[in-house]
């Protein structure tokens, strides 16, 4: 456990949590009160969706006739019910609080706060980059198999938002990432840092593999995928799972390097470097995944694959 340095930790908490609060406040106001600025899809009117339109989403193919009619009439389930969405925020905050208390007790306030705030910055920024790039650039490019890429995805519901990612998603990422990396460390205590981070990332991907199809089902619709990917696992674009693994693996490695960075440069400089890394790395991951999609898609195309691969078949 890292010793607390009360004078520094107090300043760090004030600045970091203050900034986080301001970003959440601004993003939430923009999302609910000025939705046209970031072209937020209207939960109450799916016919008005663009990039992708309803028929360009993966969801559209799984709707029964009754579900489609109800959806067009009523919109996203609980999509306009703000009290329900804020209640979900509160529940997630409670779960994240348990994790934060555990992290603080075992790793100290500074490390715990770096994990929590890092989760928002790292995952919130990464997801928002994907969401907005799809929303603003969707439909401009074809995937290597020749299908038009109709945007990426977006979250339908959320009380409070960090950029265009609901805080429920950021906090969910925080407690899944923290628990998975902690569990990997407990089960394989003699493993090196990278191997533990890899196991933590794999556990999280293993969980997400089952959670995603449920959360994107017509009855829940917590987020919506645009059609475009050439490899779908349980109806979810494969780069989602690649992204989950990379995010948790890299974050765990960087976060566990914090004590070493502090020893070398002192706590303030270590914090600055940590924040700098997690602010720039999402762009690196974004470019890596684009390159990955291009290369794998081209390879599949060369192998004669001419339409989207569904694993398992029919999904």
């Amino acid at each position: 456990m890292k010793q607390d340095i009360p004078s520094y930790d107090k300043r760090f908490a004030f600045v970091a949590y203050g900034l986080l609060f301001l970003i959440i406040l601004t993003s939430t106001c923009l999302h609910h009160l000025q939705p046209q600025m970031l072209r937020v899809p209207d939960n109450g009117d799916p016919t008005g969706w663009h990039n992708p339109t309803l028929d360009q989403t993966v969801l559209a193919d799984g709707l029964t006739g009754d579900q489609r009619a109800r959806f067009l009439d009523e919109g996203v389930p609980n999509g306009t019910d703000l009290p329900v969405q804020f209640a979900a925020d509160l529940f997630t905050i409670l779960l994240a609080w348990f994790c934060f208390v555990h992290a603080r007790r075992h790793f100290g306030f500074w490390m715990a706060s770096c994990f929590l705030i890092g989760s928002f910055v790292f995952t919130g920024l990464e997801e928002t980059l994907w969401i907005l790039s799809g929303r603003f650039l969707g439909g401009l490019a074809d995937n290597p198999l020749g299908d038009t890429a109709w945007g990426t995805y977006w979250f339908t519901r959320g009380g409070c938002w960090f950029l265009e990612t609901p805080i429920v998603a950021c906090l969910g990422w925080f407690f899944i990432a923290y628990s998975c990396v902690l569990t990997a460390g407990k089960v394989f205590p003699r493993m090196g840092l990278r191997a533990r981070a890899a196991v933590g990332g794999l556990i999280a991907v293993g969980i997400d593999l089952w959670m995603d199809p449920v959360q994107t089902a017509p009855e829940v619709m917590a987020w919506v995928w645009g059609k475009a990917d050439f490899l779908l696992l349980f109806g979810i674009p494969h780069y989602n799972f690649l992204g989950w693994f990379l995010l948790i693996f890299l974050f765990a490695v960087i976060w566990e390097k914090l004590p070493e960075m502090e020893e070398r440069w002192g706590r303030p400089a270590a914090t600055t470097r940590f924040v700098g890394i997690i602010l720039t790395l999402p762009f690196g991951i974004l470019f890596f995944i684009w390159a990955w999609l291009f290369l794998l898609g081209s390879l599949l195309s060369l192998l004669g694959v001419d339409q989207t691969l569904h694993i398992p078949g029919g999904w």
Binding site: P77, T183, K186, W210, P213, V214, V220
Partner: protein
């Protein structure tokens, strides 16, 4: 599975003579049971009224229209299943499921044997078949032959319980890969619980070990029962559905793993009291008694839950989330 020092080991001395005999008798009985029930399933399906996976219109208790999956299908999906039968019911697919689950189970078994010895490892593996395979089969056959269930619908009839639509080898009416899957899940979850909470006592660890797979099953079940898979099929009629799955399924997962973990960890203590042979007999008899008790418990539980929901003004079964 944690000892006083926080390590996941229980000291059990080897008894090569007994262990060899137990292995021989136990594995032979298991192999004979699997061979017998697999033969019955494929060559005498009328005896256990096995639903035909290639002809869903002939299904009874429940009929195709009386299953939960029916309501979630598009018209084209229904037409396809009526014409082609249950999806993925192919020999290579079934073979893959069997071989893959056998491979993962072998890894778990090797780990188990290394840490707890042959006797404890075989009790866990065979116990998994007896406990979960028998429990599931009783539940499946009860629904199939009576057309009813412990689950009580609100505002609708109950049409049976559930069944597995495909499998390669069978233990009674449960596919072998399901029994092996349960073995892998139960062992891994209770092991991880012991590692993450080494200071917890047996009940605490069994509780956490049972909650992990139950929560994972919450996400896995809706995927495996979806129209694209139909690995198993639930009859309509439960008064509380979670992601389209009758809630008794999750209760069952919890109780099975929680109780199994407790009984299995009692083995060394029982051996000290009665010797290894008697401890083994007590273990398997306890498993059978416990699974019958769990099934019996479902009846008053479902009755009480239905009354509570009716008192709360429910006009139909509760679905979480709504509409699923």
């Amino acid at each position: 599975m944690a000892d006083d020092k926080g390590g996941n080991t229980i000291e059990v001395r080897p008894d090569p003579d007994f262990d060899r005999k137990f292995r021989f008798v136990g594995w032979t009985l298991l192999a004979l049971a699997i061979a017998g029930f697999t033969y019955l399933h494929y060559f005498q399906p009328h005896l256990l009224r096995v639903p035909n996976p290639t002809d869903v219109s002939a299904w009874k208790s429940p009929s195709f229209e009386e299953t939960c999956v029916y309501d979630r299908m598009t018209d084209s999906e229904r037409a396809k299943v009526r014409a082609e039968g249950v999806p993925k019911n192919t020999v290579p697919g079934l073979l893959f499921s069997e071989v893959f689950s056998l491979f993962i189970a072998a890894l778990c078994y090797a780990h188990l044997r290394k840490h707890y010895g042959s006797w404890m490892a075989n009790c866990f593996l065979m116990g998994s078949f007896v406990f979960t395979g028998m429990q599931e089969s009783i539940w499946i056959l009860f629904g199939r032959f009576t057309g009813s269930s412990a689950s009580l619908g609100i505002g609708e009839e109950v049409f049976g319980t559930y069944f597995f639509s495909r499998g390669g080898l069978w233990f009674i009416e449960t596919p072998v890969f399901v029994c092996l899957g349960w073995f892998v899940w139960a062992y891994a979850a209770v092991w991880v619980a012991g590692k993450v909470f080494p200071g917890m006592n047996l009940f605490g660890r069994a509780l956490v070990g049972a909650l992990i797979p139950m929560l994972m099953d919450l996400w896995i079940d809706p995927v495996f029962t979806s129209p694209e898979h139909m690995n198993w099929v639930w009859a309509k009629g439960d008064c509380l559905l979670i992601f389209g799955i009758p809630h008794v399924n999750f209760l069952g997962w919890f109780f099975l793993i929680f109780l199994f973990a407790i009984f299995w960890e009692q083995l060394p203590k029982w051996e000290k009291h009665w010797g290894r042979l008697k401890a083994t007999i007590v273990f398997f008899v306890t498993l059978v008694a416990a699974e019958l008790a769990i099934l019996a418990f479902f009846f008053p539980w479902c009755f009480a839950l239905k009354q509570i929901l009716l008192l709360a003004g429910a006009q139909q079964g509760l679905k979480l989330p709504a509409g699923w």
